[in-house]
Symmetry: C2
Subunit: 156 residues, 2 copies
């Protein structure tokens, strides 16, 4: 039973690390140069603070998920790991939500604020960002499963 639990956590943490790592790489490699009315327009993730935060949070989540595997599940440090898990879950969700808010603005714009959608100009950039967000939300869900598993198996 204990072995099975350890395997579930191992699989979930590795899957979280993979999803977060892919999310960071896909977002970090999203850049596109296009020409609009003879003017060269560049779209880069570095131009949007929320996307930079997304990359940073996912790199941290990837590294942390692998490092957390070094802590034995039944050790006294397991409780501290659960605390770190809870904090990381909040940071990771915040990063994904902020990036999703800006991504939605890029797709739909906001006519009330006079912000035009830009995905028509740089569709491949937007597709890249959407792919990164999908991986980011998969990482959030997998990390949440780690947290739930830890809560239900702690001291039991």
């Amino acid at each position: 039973m204990a072995k099975a639990r350890q395997f579930v956590v191992l699989a979930l943490r590795i899957a979280t690390a993979a999803a977060a790592g892919v999310a960071a790489i896909v977002m970090a490699t999203s850049h596109k140069t296009t020409t609009v009315f003879g003017v060269q327009v560049q779209a880069k993730f570095q131009y949007t603070p929320s996307f930079v935060f997304f990359v940073a949070a996912n790199i941290v989540a990837c590294a942390y998920s692998l490092l957390a595997l070094l802590v034995p599940p039944a050790s006294p440090a397991a409780r501290h790991v659960l605390v770190a898990d809870a904090v990381l879950g909040m940071v990771l969700t915040g990063a994904a939500a902020a990036a999703a808010a800006i991504s939605a603005l890029g797709k739909n714009g906001n006519s009330h604020a006079g912000w035009q959608p830009i995905c028509g100009l740089v569709p491949t950039f937007c597709d890249h960002v959407t792919g990164a967000l999908a991986c980011g939300f998969v990482a959030v869900v997998l990390h949440l499963l780690v947290v739930l598993h830890s809560i239900y198996t702690m001291n039991s």
Copy 2:
């Protein structure tokens, strides 16, 4: 000792409910009408999906924090409450982060995307939103303290 712990959770949950409630009310009452070059411009929180999500998440957090007080800390349901706490923490952080991303865009704009800052036109609306965000982040921190307290006191 158990009484002291119960009091800490009680105080933290009530404070979280208050901060989240104030955040929702301040955001929900943020609207401003102004005239720019003879054209009437309206700024309302309903025009921005992230602000609507922020209001909804904070209403849920306010109601949940009060309802969670009905569950005795040492009961078998305490573990389920901790799970709900962890999920709510992630949702609340996501809502605050998404609203903060859009708020920052309203203040600074994004020249690369051609999105102009709008806070110069509707400064009181932006101040209102900033106030709501401040309360929202206070609610996030207080809720995180509830989660940490629950983790460190569970089964010990």
